[in-house]
């Protein structure tokens, strides 16, 4: 899979066997009473990486972050940072800083004092603190608000203060807990890119927790998809999207059509999958699926073509009826009910303004896709 690496920049230490992980979770388990928040989890994060922990609420992603910050100790297993075991080191001695979801700005201190707080703890000289605070204010474009109190700022400005405060000490790792969660959509999109620029500029390792897949896809070098205290897949955004390793990951990120069936025929690369109603799907890159396995064929809606007549050249073509249409402006989503009852979602980019012979409700339609358009999932 040549094109599924990091598309953002030439940076892929995880595929280099020589590279040493910067943060390493080794068989980490965390229990709160009977509840297992994190279950025997191992994970490597590399220096200068922008790493995202993505999952629904309660999946253990925040617990993982809090263990890294030192607010929780793992029940078993260990966490290494730059080769050092973090067990027993209190939060105030760890070389990591956290940006809190609630921002946790000190309400009785001005913006300046908030940013200077961590530097004062370090025993930095007054002149150095002033210089660093000015630098941070400039970085987050809040020079004019230095003497304001947090309650006099807007939500976006508070977010920037929290960010400035957490990077002021130049931590080895910056932890961000839902950093954009409290912002409105437009501001969130702008801030995503600012965060990425900031990370590049400062050369820090970022670990961000989020439940917003778009946010994780946009910002992160790699994403760990978490569910019930376990990591389901760790990969680049493109890999997660185009080559999910399980039904869960495929369904969690983006939209997907799953065709359940079993492998009827297997060659070196390709496989023929037979669905329950006898539908045949030919797939390239069938991975580890062996003949006779129960598998799911996963294909994204935008990789399916829809037409009113059976396409002549298509290897995979299935017939059905247009069940529903959602016109979204930039694209149109068709829901096609196949003859075996399954509903398939296919999206078409509206590249032209005017379409001849458009499909409409209850029309007979054919969906087709290339043999390499989807993946075979065994899990």
């Amino acid at each position: 899979m040549k094109s599924l690496g990091s598309i953002r920049r030439d940076f892929a230490p995880w595929s280099d066997p020589q590279a040493k992980p910067y943060i390493r979770f080794e068989n980490v388990t965390k229990r709160f009473g009977d509840f297992t928040a994190v279950n025997n989890l191992s994970l490597s994060i590399y220096e200068r990486e922008f790493f995202a922990l993505l999952g629904a609420s309660g999946c253990g992603k925040s617990t993982l972050l809090r263990m890294l910050a030192g607010f929780e100790e793992p029940t078993s297993g260990k966490i290494l940072l730059d080769g050092q075991d973090l067990r027993g080191i209190p939060p105030y001695r760890r070389p990591v800083n956290m940006m809190f979801q609630s921002y946790a700005l000190f309400p009785h201190m001005s913006v300046e004092k908030n940013i200077a707080f961590g530097l004062k703890q370090e025993g930095m000289s007054k002149a150095d603190i002033d210089r660093r605070v000015a630098e941070m204010l400039k970085l987050v474009k809040l020079e004019r608000f230095a003497s304001r109190k947090p309650h006099q700022l807007s939500g976006g400005q508070r977010q920037r203060v929290a960010l400035a405060r957490s990077v002021a000490k130049r931590p080895k790792v910056l932890l961000l807990d839902e950093p954009l969660g409290a912002l409105d959509k437009k501001l969130r999109e702008e801030t995503q890119f600012e965060l990425m620029d900031l990370q590049q500029e400062l050369g820090l390792t970022f670990v961000v927790v989020t439940h917003d897949q778009e946010e994780a896809m946009t910002m992160a070098d790699r994403i760990a998809i978490m569910d019930k205290g376990e990591v389901m897949q760790v990969a680049t955004p493109a890999e997660i999207y185009e080559a999910p390793n399980s039904r869960f990951v495929a369904g969690f990120v983006g939209n997907v059509n799953l065709f359940e069936g079993s492998v009827a025929e297997r060659t070196e690369n390709s496989a023929r999958i037979t669905g329950g109603s006898g539908a045949q799907i030919l797939v390239e890159n069938a991975g580890e699926a062996a003949k006779g396995n129960d598998v799911a064929f996963a294909i994204r809606p935008e990789k399916i073509r829809i037409s009113s007549r059976k396409p002549q050249d298509a290897v995979n073509a299935l017939e059905g009826e247009v069940y529903d249409i959602a016109y979204l402006g930039d694209m149109t989503v068709y829901y096609v009910k196949l003859d075996d009852g399954q509903i398939v979602r296919a999206s078409m980019l509206n590249a032209a303004r005017i379409v001849d012979d458009p499909l409409t409700w209850s029309d007979r339609a054919w969906i087709s896709f290339r043999p390499d358009a989807g993946v075979v999932l065994t899990r």
Binding site: A69, G70, F71, P90, P91, Y92, R93, V96, N97, M98, F100, S102, A104, L105, F106, P107, H108, F117, G118, Q121, E122, K149, Q152, R165, S166, K169
Partner: protein, 321 residues
């Protein structure tokens, strides 16, 4: 025609809101009237009566001061009475050092007691605020529980504990810590114990309410930025609980200055507090005018600094905005 009806229908909702605003304005005013009426009848009018008595002369009569206003003579009687009023009683207070000393000693005793109450109350409130949420209502009830018995009985109970043959001395001698009983009764120590005990809930409740609503992530953020827990307490928790500290201190200090029962029962005869002086003037000397003057001065001693303080605070908050 169409125009007219359109404008009429447009005006209708406006009138409606005006009317409803008038009604809501009226009920709003009625609501604020209630506390004002309360203050008028139970603070301002009694204050004026006491102030008037403080300007009178004591007399062997009923009531024991002159002049009394003779309402049968109408306005002229009122004028005649007002003409005889004087500030002699206030001058008398400045001539006898007893009163000045009593005021000073009351303020000092109340101040020390308030500080002690804060020192005892803060850890209690902090512990309550940090307790599991399911336990907090119970703890809160335990703090309020002493109010269910009479204040007087509780102070009497302390006599039983503190007196030379009391529970405390018996216990300490029993375990061999001391060989002869400690003298606590009829000392200032007993007064401090009594005040701290009696007023502790007034300190704990406002402290608890300000500590309880504090966001724990602030403490975590402070620690995350390199601040050890004790230092985080002084830099974050304590400054943010200041409104509770101030409210608690005022709630303890103000009644403690004028406290009469505790110094009288636990402090013995030689303790000098303005509450006792006041009582003596009223009931031992039957000098109502001087007693009233003492009460008026006590009120001024308490009210003026508090008003100034609150004014300064309101101003500081205004500047913050």
């Amino acid at each position: 025609m169409a125009n007219v009806s359109a404008s009429a229908s447009a005006a209708l909702p406006a009138e409606k809101t005006f009317l409803s605003r008038l009604i809501s304005g009226f009920t709003g005013r009625l609501l604020i009237l209630v506390p004002y009426a309360w203050l008028l009848f139970f603070f301002l009018i009694p204050f004026v009566i006491v102030f008037k008595i403080s300007l009178s002369q004591s007399a062997i009569s009923m009531p024991p001061y002159a002049p009394a206003i003779d309402f049968s003579e109408g306005i002229s009687g009122l004028w005649a009475a007002l003409r005889e009023l004087s500030f002699d009683n206030y001058l008398w207070l400045t001539e006898d050092p007893l009163y000045f000393n009593a005021y000073i000693s009351s303020v000092v005793i109340a101040g020390i007691s308030t500080l002690l109450t804060l020192l005892v109350g803060y850890p209690i409130a902090y512990g309550m605020a940090r307790a599991p949420a399911s336990l907090r209502p119970t703890l809160l009830m335990l703090v309020i529980l002493p109010f269910w018995t009479s204040f007087l009985i509780r102070v009497y109970a302390w006599i039983g504990i503190l007196k030379p043959e009391g529970l405390l001395n018996q216990f300490l001698m029993g375990i061999g810590v001391i060989s002869s009983p400690l003298v606590i009764m009829n000392t200032y120590t007993a007064i401090f114990i009594g005040i701290v005990y009696s007023y502790l809930p007034f300190m704990v409740l406002p402290l608890y309410s300000s500590l309880e609503k504090m966001d724990n992530s602030l403490i975590e953020a402070a620690q995350d930025l390199g601040c050890p827990p004790i230092s985080a307490f002084w830099k974050i928790t304590f400054p943010l609980s200041l409104p509770g500290v101030i409210a608690g201190c005022l709630l303890v200090f103000i009644p403690a200055v004028g406290e009469f029962v505790i110094p009288d029962l636990l402090g013995g005869s030689q303790t000098l507090m303005i509450g006792r002086t006041l009582w003596n003037e009223f009931f031992a000397n039957r000098d109502w005018p001087v007693a009233s003057a003492v009460a008026i001065i006590l009120l001024l001693v308490l009210v003026i600094p508090i008003v100034l303080f609150q004014h300064a605070q309101a101003r500081a908050q205004e500047q913050d905005r």
